[in-house]
Symmetry: C2
Subunit: 370 residues, 2 copies
């Protein structure tokens, strides 16, 4: 039961009690966030970034934390999201374990971690918590709202629930509703964790920890975050040194197996399993269509934002580009100046985290126009 809070985080106290969309409420909840650049006197240069499932708010280095962030090449002075022009806020999602309140945080009523007593979490709750930070900073309208992956869902929920909160929007590898392939993947990730006896109905600790379940969940994630095309070129059938598997016929033999293993090792003890369950289920539940009698296109057309860009990688199997295309078309149908760009990145869903050569120019170009 550990939280992983980056040094230099700032915290915003949410209203208490905080009722959640699906029932239940939180006492003394908070959101961790980080900022870059300077808020203009007219407060009109603010950009909010809402993230994917696992990142913290440390999108890039700053004076309070000089370590490189997960979007270091995208965000900074003179970069695509230019912090000399924009005041950028990145929030850690409510329900996460990286500074914002989530299942790994202490429940002030019991003095114990929330674990499975954490109320059911929705993308809409994550959206509202992010907006609460923006308002607390005295900002009434964002110049741009940027959401990646799960954050693409969060951003749409922000626009739906807070009309007029953003003049423009960039949706990166996001979607307006979860579809069955991605639900199946996340359901299986959760099942792997929950079938691990060490998960113990959410009551694990560092000593007895659902390591096996988290390994499977993470490796399955990584498989769906990348693409077969990338791996054909990157790994092919290249083998590891023969010592790597100690003669075990089912041990690691191919480079691709070692790659997955590295990803699992870097993740397993660095993300809280219960938080993983809650955030994944929140994504499954998300369907913007709820706000227009099940018609997701109509719901998109109702969103009020002047200008939008929806981009993704043509090789993404988890949030396929058809979903970003749907976002652009739906927003455009409502009168938004919305554009879709499908990029030929081989890296699949993860491309926005690694293929800066392709992802930076459209982001920079869009922000230059607003």
């Amino acid at each position: 039961m550990t939280e992983f809070i980056p040094p230099g985080s700032q915290f915003h106290a949410l209203p208490s009690p905080l009722p959640l969309k699906r029932g239940g409420q939180l006492q003394g909840a908070r959101v961790a966030y980080e900022t870059w650049g300077t808020l203009a006197a007219d407060r009109r240069n603010a950009v909010l970034i809402v993230t994917g499932l696992s990142p913290d708010a440390h999108a890039a280095s700053h004076a309070g934390n000089p370590l490189p962030g997960w979007w270091e090449k995208m965000l900074g002075p003179g970069k695509a999201i230019d912090t000399e022009r924009w005041f950028v806020i990145c929030v850690n999602s409510l329900g996460s374990c990286k500074g914002s309140t989530g299942p790994a945080s202490l429940n002030p009523d019991s003095g114990q971690p929330w674990r499975l007593d954490f109320p059911a979490l929705s993308i809409e709750d994550i959206a509202d918590a992010g907006v609460s930070v923006v308002k607390a900073l005295g900002i009434t309208q964002l110049a741009c709202l940027i959401g990646n992956s799960m954050g693409g869902m969060t951003a749409l929920a922000v626009l739906q629930r807070h009309p007029g909160i953003a003049r423009s929007h960039i949706n990166i590898s996001g979607s307006a509703q979860a579809l069955p392939f991605s639900i199946a993947i996340r359901s299986l990730q959760r099942e792997a964790i929950r079938l691990d006896p060490a998960w113990n109905n959410g009551s694990y600790d560092e000593a007895v920890y659902p390591e096996a379940g988290m390994r499977i969940a993470r490796k399955l994630g990584v498989i769906t975050y990348r693409s077969a095309l990338e791996w054909d070129g990157r790994f092919g059938r290249v083998r590891l040194d023969s010592e790597a598997n100690d003669g075990d016929p089912f041990g690691m033999e191919f480079q691709v197996e070692s790659y997955l293993e590295g990803h699992a090792r870097r993740f397993v003890r660095h993300f809280d399993p219960n938080c993983y369950l809650y955030l994944g289920r929140a994504m499954d539940w998300f369907d913007l269509g709820e706000y227009a009698n099940g018609d997701v296109d109509a719901a998109l057309a109702q969103l009020r934002v002047d200008k939008a860009l929806a981009i993704g990688a043509n090789t993404d199997i988890l949030f396929p580009v058809q979903q970003q295309q749907q976002i652009a078309q739906g927003l455009a149908a409502g009168g938004c100046d919305a554009r879709f760009v499908g990029l030929d990145s081989p890296q699949g869903h993860d491309a926005f985290l690694v293929d800066f050569e392709r992802f930076c120019p459209p982001v920079a170009g869009f922000l230059a126009e607003i």
Copy 2:
């Protein structure tokens, strides 16, 4: 430790001892097979079917076993593979648990199941065992060799190791080498089984059985056997009755989750976990390129077969159609009259088992021409 042998199976005793490609040998090994139709006096109307990972040899009903087989709609009198014309043999793969010798079979030396003492198994061993059945039936040349999925690998190994054994070949959703995406999936399936404490290094029994690991492995398989496109249309975001999950926020809620659950239940106690490990690893190891200094196209061009058809579904993510296209092109480069057909089946890798409307005509058409 159970074998699942269809009633009405026939058995062929393999040479004993039987040395395997990667070292080790088997005593008293056998292959289970079934046949349909009548072998012509000139013995030139024989068709051999080699299968995917999990099927038994019961491809269709016959007098000895009237239950429908897994290819009932493809194989029979007047069907695409017309048993009024052809004498059809289907073999259960060596290493399987459905009548042929595998890790779940008794090792005659010890009187105990082989389990992990079973020698390392290769696709080439499966190929040789199938050819041994054909020869024992007095057939020196097949009219057609048909391989599906893993059987597509097995068929190529048959052609490589037994030049002239077949006049024609149909490769369905197969490949000439395992690529890293499919290796990653199978590696993760194996890891899920091996991380299950009940697997117990292969020494489970019915009472203590790696149920959790097999569930994860099977569900992951099913996810990669179908396609997101099919599921969008078939399941969308349709939910189960609210009683289905007993109020558990992480229980089954969406139809797609119930679909996966059904598949897991029908598989978990009906396929031996150790056999699953061996057969999956055999696929990872398969690379026809081994026979031409790593050049898989050159290895295909060396195969001797007059006429060939390589077909698959455009939505297959496990054995993508580029791999069937490669087979046709490679065979054609060697002088074979080879054709590739990519079918617009939404059902992905499994399409050949369910989309008979699309798969039967090209198979029937090809067989009509030979």
